[in-house]
């Protein structure tokens, strides 16, 4: 699966309180949450983000609260993928579980600037910065995690494991 989008660049330790403040945790609707995504950090984000855009963060992205509303709000905003130096562990699981692609590549993060266009191949884990022409290889997922991603998230993965037919 190939993605392409423009970069929103943020720093280290982007916590879930700034991704989606607790005052908005009275709903689970992705679009409502998306309208407030990142607002305590970057007031422009929610209004200007376009479908397919890519968030680039530093170390420990998504630290703090376990709120799944954080990756839900990012996915709801149309973001196609997050690339960071590292992810906080609960956020990592949450993103995988809801089918929001996330990749670790410190080199790609270092070179990326706001507004750059990145192409991402999720199958090979390669990231190309179209401004510089440089290509980066993201850390591979553990095979078990890849199973969840390939199934489309934890719920469809579990239904398959339990032998429950997916209702359409």
């Amino acid at each position: 699966m190939k993605l392409e989008g423009k970069v929103w660049k943020y720093g280290d330790n982007i916590d879930t309180d700034v991704i989606i403040p607790a005052r908005y945790l009275v709903t689970t609707d992705p679009k409502t949450l998306a309208a407030h995504c990142m607002e305590d950090l970057d007031t422009a984000f929610a209004g200007e983000v376009e479908p397919g855009d890519i968030i680039v963060g530093g170390r420990n992205f998504g630290c703090g609260s376990s709120r799944e509303h954080a990756p839900i709000s990012i996915k709801g905003a149309g973001v196609s993928c997050i690339i960071a130096e590292s992810f906080a562990r609960i956020f990592f699981r949450n993103a995988i579980n809801i089918g929001l692609p996330i990749l670790e590549s410190p080199e790609a993060v270092e070179d990326a600037q706001k507004g750059d266009v990145l192409s991402v191949d999720l199958v090979t884990g390669t990231i190309t910065n179209q401004r510089t022409g440089k290509t980066y290889q993201a850390s591979p997922y553990p095979p078990f995690v890849l199973g969840i991603i390939n199934a489309g998230g934890l719920v469809p993965y579990t239904r398959r494991e339990l032998g429950i037919e997916i209702k359409r």
Partner: protein
């Protein structure tokens, strides 16, 4: 090679029956308790329903606690709590946590003997790591993981590497476990224990009561940790024996367990610590912080909302005969209704109220900027809670200083950041 506590407890819960797991192994484990709250349960219930099984794996082991916006702050939060309550009724869950009878999950579950030493616990709240003070493997997860665990009684885990923390030396007056954990986070930073287990040991940890032990493991997540442990000992046994709702098996780390690092702390020279805005790792000794005027003081939360925390505040008021500054909003919120009842019985609810505090029923409320004390843009708050990220307790420009209950009480009296010894 010996095993750490994380390796032993995860190994004992490995569904394959292979107990000899090591750091780095990916394993599927059975869980003893699955928990969620009013914010995380609605999505977990959606995931549970989407998976398509009829019943939770064990109606005695699934615990849904309304805490964050409890008592419901508005119609939407009321609807979230209703989702949780209706699900608990439909699934005939054994343990209920009604407003007025419960409180914050991380205070209530240990108090009722529902989480026990040797357990493997997953919770839809990042501070689920609190139960590690009992010698349990306990970790926070998101809602979809919790829905999976509610349906299957299982979860997957990567066995973490373990960092060992050793504390010795006699504590100075007004230094508590809150200062020990803040100092630790200050040293290793907010991702210093990312994906790792933290074992807290040494004579100064063995000397802590259970309340102070919960404060320490509660903040493991603030260093990025997956779980934290305080070794099971006579203090744990005495606490658990009075409450345990079922049999339990304590585990012990081996003497030759492999630790990725060892960190030593000397308490004899440690003064009260304060985490300054906007990160729990921006930690400084209180003597090095400008004594700013404060607008609000919050004493409570899953970090410092227990009986012993309230006792610290009561002791300061009684010994000094002072009251809180009329220029400060002082919120004192017990972590559970059991703590509230104890406060009433001790006369502390009256003492705190007479001193000028707003004393309320149990809630997470102000800690997450939910309700019961949200901050305005230019305000300063001293809080006994666990996070001071931008926007955490209200407006993005509000500034929160994290401290122990004695520093919070002293600051509430002085109207500025203060060392209790100044009183």
């Amino acid at each position: 090679m010996g095993k750490t506590l994380a390796e032993k407890i995860i190994g004992a819960h490995n569904v394959d029956g292979e107990t000899g797991v090591s750091a780095g192994d990916l394993v599927t484990v059975s869980v003893d308790v699955v928990m969620a709250n009013d914010v995380t349960a609605p999505i977990a219930i959606d995931s549970f329903n989407a998976i398509g099984v009829e019943n939770v794996f064990d109606r005695d082991r699934v615990m849904l606690v309304p805490s964050h916006f409890a008592p419901n702050k508005d119609i939407k939060s009321a609807e979230q709590t209703r989702t949780l309550t209706r699900f608990a009724e439909a699934q005939v869950l054994e343990n209920r946590f009604q407003v007025g009878r419960a409180g914050i999950e991380h205070v209530v579950l240990p108090e009722r003997g529902l989480v026990l030493p040797g357990d493997l616990i997953v919770g839809g709240d990042s501070h689920t790591c609190t139960y590690g003070a009992l010698g349990a493997f306990s970790t926070g997860m998101g809602s979809t993981d919790i829905g999976f665990a509610m349906a299957t009684g299982k979860t997957w885990l990567k066995v973490p590497e373990t960092m060992k923390f050793v504390y010795q030396g006699e504590r100075q007056q007004y230094v508590y476990s809150k200062d020990m954990i803040l100092r630790t986070i200050g040293e290793i930073t907010v991702d210093g224990a990312l994906y790792r287990s933290m074992e807290f040991t040494g004579p100064s940890v063995a000397a802590l009561n259970m309340s102070e032990r919960f404060t320490m493991t509660n903040m493991v997540i603030e260093a990025g940790g997956k779980c934290g442990f305080i070794p099971f000992d006579d203090v744990t046994r005495e606490y658990v024996e009075a409450r345990a709702t079922r049999p339990y098996t304590p585990f012990y780390a081996d003497d030759d367990a492999r630790y990725i690092s060892v960190h030593e702390f000397d308490l004899s020279t440690m003064e009260p610590q304060v985490a300054c805005p906007y990160s729990p790792d921006n930690v400084h000794p209180i003597s090095q912080i400008r004594p700013e005027k404060v607008d609000q003081v919050f004493i409570g939360s899953c970090t410092n909302g227990r009986f012993e925390d309230m006792a610290i505040v009561a002791d300061i008021l009684q010994r000094t005969g002072r009251e809180f500054s009329p220029d400060v909003r002082v919120m004192i919120i017990p972590g559970s209704q059991a703590v509230y009842l104890d406060m009433l019985r001790q006369g502390w609810a009256e003492l705190f109220t007479m001193a000028g505090a707003a004393v309320s029923t149990s809630t997470c409320g102000p800690c997450l900027g939910g309700h019961m004390g949200v901050l305005a843009g230019d305000e300063v708050c001293v809080s006994t809670s666990n996070r001071n990220f931008r926007g955490r307790m209200g407006h993005r420009d509000a500034r929160v200083f994290l401290a122990n209950p004695a520093v919070a009480a002293a600051s509430a009296i002085m109207g500025r950041l203060a060392h209790p010894a100044e009183l």
